[in-house]
Structure formats: structure tokens, C-alpha cells
Amino acid sequence: MKKKSFWLISLLLVFSMFLAACNSGNETSGNEKDGDKEEANTGEPVEGGKVTLAVTTAPEGVFEYAYYRSAVDAQILEFTGGSIYQVNDDLEYEPDLASWEISEDKLTYTFKFKEGVKWHNGEELTVEDWQFALETMADPAYDGERFNYVEGIKGAKAKKDGKADSIEGIKVIDDYTIAITFEEMKLNNLENLWSYPMPKKHFEGIAVADLGESEQVRTNPVGLGPFKVKSVKPGEYVELEKFADYYKGEPKLDNIVVKVIDASVANGALQNGEVDIMEVIPNQVEELEKMDHISVEETTGVGYSYIGLRFGHRDQEARTNKDDIDKFKNKDLRHALLYAIDRQAMIDAFLAGKGKVFNTVIPSTFWIAADESELNQYEYNPEKAKELLAGAGYKDVDGDGFVEDPDGEPFSISFGHYAGNATFEGRAQAIIQSWNDIGVKTELATGSLIEFNLYNDMKTEDDEALEAFFGSWSTGSDPDPSGLWANNAEWNFGRWVNEENDKLLNDALSEKAFDKDYRKEVYVEWQKLFNEEIPAIPLWENLDLYGINKRLQGVHINAVGFQTNTHEWYVTE
């Protein structure tokens, strides 16, 4: 009896919540729209002002690049921190706090810092702050996750192992000049080098082991960016105020509030002006586009989706991949699986059209992306898929409507997808249905969408249920695809091993590749190889979407995000 009333009450509560959401939404929309039309004509910038950025998970509150773990902390650090280089709209690395020269042997980089750059506490930035950061991260007591960013420096490993007191490859020349020598010549040494100085004076006297938990990192952080942390309310918001001595010029806004809201109320919050800017997902867009005072900005991002196909297993000890499963070894089969999927229809249906079909795994925004004319387009063609299957010997022998493999054995695919967003069920179903339609029997692995963390574990452990699996990946600004597709890469979840693949990927990082044209040529070759082999089924590249209130101006959006030059943000009311 007690339980019954509990359920009834909770059901009632849920319904009343729906109703409440509908009501408040409608009322405020009316008012907002009227008010907005008036001020749209007078779009003059006003001085100061406060802007609210919404995030859907709470920040952890670790405001130091070397220690942060959550993506939200990273967003806050984008406001408060500063970097040696920045990534421009074409995803190339440009000098920011420092410029650099590369030695003849390509092993030593000499950095020249800008003079007069101030930390939030008034101290001046010198190369010692950067040296301090690098030394800290190579310290055996460093408990953050980013040793790999200093690993390439000569002598960093020795320090990490306790064999040296300092990193051999760092030489301070004067207050503004520093030389870094790397262990081996690699094209992306710079991209892989830690680029964030640490406030040495601020952290003085704190043991490396205690740094991540210290008050200086958690509640009283000091950075170089246009905004500094004013107050932190855990789980609710972080308030930032402008730093007037910012080296690129005084920020136009007074305050930025990074506020935590629930994803389900995101549209409402944008609508009633509670939130000025946030990242949005495709199924929010249709509703947002109807609001006059909200603009939806989109840009081709660095994220993409694909269907992985399992070729083998990973030997975790030896850190190598072995292709010992024959299921997908037939290239025509893989081509058929791709031809069977109507990718454009899926983008329209499940991503509100906010995606772009692609045929390799290099998002088009990268400068190394191959021209589409050089690639096979694999347009939706179920008839061709069936022909390819028949040609490869996959025929329906026993008359059950599904093909058997060339040996006449039953053939079926177990396809896995993770749980989350409400559109995932349809997406998984659509893929399964496409393959069933061409006669390849496909079932949903485990019978239901798999919880996300469990799914990732299953992928890592080569779970048998995931013969084919849905994957989404964000590449970051370094175009090198080795992390996900090199033969022995840990994240090469399909365990695809191909000699030509590794040859090209290594070639693209070789000394010859310092010539940009050559490097691009090699990557185009690699993309052609991928496009021909289809070791995984490329689906689409994602568009990054942002909902922005029109009162907020000056936001510069590019493939890496929306937080470039935030000191130029301003409001018009």
C-alpha cells in the first residue's frame, strides 16, 4: 500500500513537472520576444555587463591545467588560463605567449616570451613559470594525468623515474628566453608539448604531491587569462570577474558566470534569458531556431561518428593488436555494409540535419583532409550492396532471407550501441535494419543499449558481443590520426592491422614531413587507403552547435570551440 502511493505520487509529480515546464516556457517566451524586438534595433555595445554560460555537468573545481580532469573545468580554464601557442581557425598552431624557432636538427625549440605579461596576482610572467610547470609534471610525485605532454623532452623520463633532479632538455637562457630539447625528432613534438605556465611564486612552498588538492589550485587560482575566478559555489556556479591587466587588452565584460543547469531545461533557460550561451545538441536546435533572440551558430567540428568492425584482439601486456578474427576480412562485405546505410537520411532524422556525410575519418575542417573528388563516395545503394555480397559469395543458401557466409555457414553480426540520448535507440535500430535489409542478419548486442561506461570497458576488453559497434570520437586539434587508427594504438578498437597503414602514418611524422605539402600528400594517401579498405564504416562528421543570446556579441567560434579571445565578448544591453 505504501509503495503504491509512492509510485502514484511520483507519477503525479512527474506529470506536474511537465505541465509546469510547459506553462512557464510559454509565458516567458511571449514577454521575451516583445522586449527583444525593441532592443534588436539598438545593438550598441554597453560597457561591462554580465554573461551566463551554461554547462550541464558540475565543475570539479580543479583550476590548474596540469591537474584538471573534467571538461567543464577545462572550459573555465579557457577563461582564466593562458598558453604558449593558440590554435587558429585552420587548426594550425600560432604563437601566443611566446614565439619559437626550430634548430637545424629539429630537436631544439627556442621560445621567446612576450614581456610585461601579468599573472592575476600582479607578478610578471617569466620563463621560470613555464619551466616550473614542466618540472612539476615530470616530478615522480606528480599525480595528475598529463605526464605524456612532457614525456618527449630529453631527460623527462629520467626525472620521472627518480634518476635525475631536473629535466636535462630545458635550458633557461634569460627571463624571456628558454630552449627545449626533445629526445627524438618528431613532427608533432610542439603539438605534444605542455604549453601552460604555472604561477611559480603562487605555488611556492607547496609539495608537488599536495598541489592538486591545495587551496591555491582549488579556491584561489591564479592564471594569465582575461578573467579570474571570483567565487565558487560547488555544484551550482563559478563566478568569474575581468582581469583588467590582461595582456591582450582589457576585457569588455565585467563578469562571466558559469552555471550548472540540467540538460532538459536548457532550451527554457536560453529562452527566458537566464543563460546567454551554451553548447547545444542537434535535437534542441529545431526549438531554438524558433526563438527570435537566440542565434544558433554551427561550425564543422573535430568530432565524428563511425561503426567499428572487429578484426581481432589486443594484447594489453605487449601493447600490440592482433587481427585474429575473420568475420570482416572480406573487403566487399565491408563495402556492402557501407552501401546499405542511408547516411544522409540518418543525419536528417537523428541529428536534425546537423552533420555531414564523410568517407574517411579525417573531418573536413583539417588542412590535411583529402578532397572529396579523390574519394569513393559510397552513396546509399542497397542494390549495389546486395550485388557485392553475392559477388563475394555471401548467398542465402537455406532460404531464411539472410545470407550465409561463403562456406555456407550462418552469418550474423552482433551490433552494439551505448545508451544516453533519446535518439540513440532509433539510430541503432536504423543501422540494424539497413543491414537486415540487404540480407545480413544483425542483432542488437546484449538486446539493449549498453550503459556508457560499461560500453567503453567492453570495447577496451574486446568483448565478443561487440562485433560491430557505434563509435564517436573527438580528435582534438592535432590532425594526426595515429591515436585511433595506428596498428598498435590502444584506441584502435576494431584492432585493424595493415602494413600500409602504419607505413603512411609514420611517414607523415617523419623529418621529410616538415614540408607541409609533403605531409598533406602522405595523409591524403592514407585517407585513400582508408577509403578503399573501409576498416570501419565512416558515418558523418558532427557539427558543433552553440545557442547564443543575441545580446551577447563578439563570440568567435571555430573548430576547437567558442572560447577564442573571450576578452572581446560584449553585450548590447
Binding site: 500500500m1 509510485w7 516556457g25 527554457g268 532524422a349 545508451a419 535507440e425 536504423a430 542488437l444 539493449s448
Partner: protein
């Protein structure tokens, strides 16, 4: 004290026996006169009939994603419209009724069987056995239901086929309340003279429990059963709404509600989630009214 209660109970029993109508006939008469309960019964039975026979008449494919007909409002072709995956909502409602009612009825059966057995053994024997059984019951009652169901369901996924995992998990976690009530009824019932009489002529305990006491506590169990039916249907809907109930490709009312988690669907595409929500509400109300009706009908003291 014990004797006194024995006497009065015994007299009531004898009086009933002397009348022309058996207590069951009386109850049926009373129930038929209860308008709310009868309406509810008709509604519920028609839902069950639709669930059982409806799928024989529907023409639409319930799982096929149809890119051409997504999010269509209700029309002559699609009576209740289509959902975000282009599937006919009316057809899914019919199949969903099948799943939801199957889960409700199966869980109810399991719960009542387990609860009655445990309660009967504990209540009849008393003493140490009672203690042991009741501690186990307390243990089950103390599980945080929702959390535990979600965890168990995740562990069992892939090992037992979808819907039956859920039925098993819900049943195993919900019999505690029934066991308690049955036990308390048994405790008071076994002190009656007819039990004493049966015992004294050497009837086996299992026969006493099954043939003598159980019919006398049946009314309580039946009322409990209707309540459990309602509870489990809501539990299924709640769990599926949270995404850890019935596998996503099997339509159930809860799974259909899942789509309402998208704010756009919630605000602008009401036809997608109103039908399953309404169906759940109506079913639960109907079952509860039926339960109340039965309780009234079986209660000799009510004069309605």
C-alpha cells in the same frame, strides 16, 4: 483472551454456513452492485483483450524505423500519429499493452506465490522458523528498490532475455510486503478452533495451511494481488522511462514515455507521449478501483 476470540470467530463462521448464500456468492453480488468497480473492471478487461487480440489485426511494423514518416501528428492513416522514429503510435500502444500487462501480471503472480509461501510457513510455524523467514523478508524489504533493480538489470542483461529479466528482478524484490501481511493473517488465523480441530485429528501441516487456513485468508491475498498488479505496471513504466527497464526495441508503455525526455517532444509533440501516459494512468486507476471493490465485497462488515 485467546478463548474469547475463538468463540466469537467461530460463531461468525457458523452463522455464514447456515445461510443460503456462500460468502463468495455474497461477495460477487456486492461487487456487481459497485458501479465504479464494475466500470473499472470493464475497462481493464477490454485493455487485456486489446493486448491479447489487438496485434492480430494491426498492419504496421512496430520496430521498423521509417525515415519518411517521422513525427507525424495524428491523422486517418496514423490514428495517434507517429513517434520520432516514424513508427505508428497506435500500433505500438497495442503491442505496448501486451508487454506492460505481461510484466504486471507475471510479476503479480510471482510476488503473490513467493509472498504467500513465505508468509504462510512463517506464520503457521512461528518461533524460530518465523524469526528466520521474517529477517529474510526484512532484508528484501530494505533494498533500495529502484537502485537495486537498475543494477541487477544491468548485470543480468544479455544473460536472460529482456522482458523476463525485468519480471524476475521486480518479483524478487517486491514479495516482502505480501509475505508480512500473509504472515500476520496466518498468526491470528491459526489460533482458531477449526485449526485446533484439524491439528488434533493429526492432519498434516501442509494440508492445514492449504485447505483450511488459506481459503480464509484468500480475501486479503486477492486484494494484495490487485495492488501489486498496479505497482508493478508503474514500476515497469518508471524503469523504462529511466532507460533501464524493458529493452529499447520492445515497445512498452514505459519505453514509449522514454521519448518524452527530449524537451522538444515534451513541449511540442504531445501526441507522442500522451497516449502511453494516459493508458498507464487509466489502467492503474482501474486496477485500484477493482481492488477497492473486491475489498469491500469480501469484507463481511461493510454494508454497501
Amino acid at each position: 483472551m485467546v478463548k474469547a476470540s475463538l468463540n466469537t470467530d467461530g460463531q461468525v463462521l457458523i452463522k455464514n454456513k447456515q445461510k443460503q448464500f456462500s460468502p463468495w456468492k455474497l461477495a460477487r453480488k456486492k461487487f456487481l452492485k459497485n458501479k465504479i468497480a464494475m466500470t473499472s473492471l470493464i475497462v481493464f478487461v477490454s485493455f487485456v483483450l486489446i493486448a491479447v487480440f489487438g496485434p492480430l489485426f494491426t498492419t504496421q511494423d512496430i520496430t521498423r524505423i521509417n525515415f519518411m514518416s517521422m513525427n507525424l501528428p495524428p491523422s486517418a492513416e496514423h490514428w495517434f500519429g507517429t513517434d520520432t522514429n516514424g513508427r505508428d503510435i497506435f500500433t505500438r500502444m497495442v503491442y505496448g499493452a501486451r508487454t506492460s500487462l505481461l510484466i504486471g501480471l507475471s510479476c503479480m503472480t510471482f510476488i503473490i506465490v513467493i509472498g504467500t509461501i513465505v508468509g504462510a510457513i512463517a506464520g503457521y510455524n512461528g518461533g524460530k522458523i518465523d524469526q528466520i523467514f521474517m529477517r529474510i523478508t526484512d532484508f528484501v524489504l530494505n533494498f533500495p528498490f529502484l537502485v537495486f533493480v537498475i543494477v541487477l538489470n544491468t548485470i543480468l542483461v544479455g544473460k536472460v532475455s529482456g522482458v523476463w529479466t525485468l519480471i524476475l528482478v521486480i518479483s524478487l524484490l517486491s514479495w516482502g510486503g505480501v509475505a508480512r501481511i500473509v504472515r500476520s493473517r496466518f498468526l491470528s488465523e491459526k489460533e482458531n478452533e477449526y485449526v485446533l480441530a484439524a491439528k488434533s485429528i493429526g492432519t498434516r501441516p501442509i494440508k492445514i495451511i492449504g485447505k483450511h487456513i488459506l481459503p480464509n485468508v484468500a480475501s486479503t491475498i486477492i486484494v494484495q494481488a490487485t495492488l501489486m498488479l498496479a505497482v508493478t505496471i508503474v514500476a515497469e513504466a518508471g524503469l523504462s522511462f529511466l532507460g533501464s527497464g524493458v529493452p529499447a526495441n520492445i515497445p512498452s508503455w514505459g519505453n514509449m514515455l522514454f521519448e518524452a525526455r527530449d524537451s522538444d517532444v515534451l513541449r511540442n509533440k504531445t501526441w507522442i507521449w500522451v497516449p502511453p501516459a494516459a493508458a498507464i494512468t487509466i489502467t492503474i486507476l482501474a486496477i485500484n478501483f477493482i481492488g477497492e471493490g473486491i475489498k469491500d465485497a469480501l469484507n463481511p462488515k461493510s454494508r454497501r
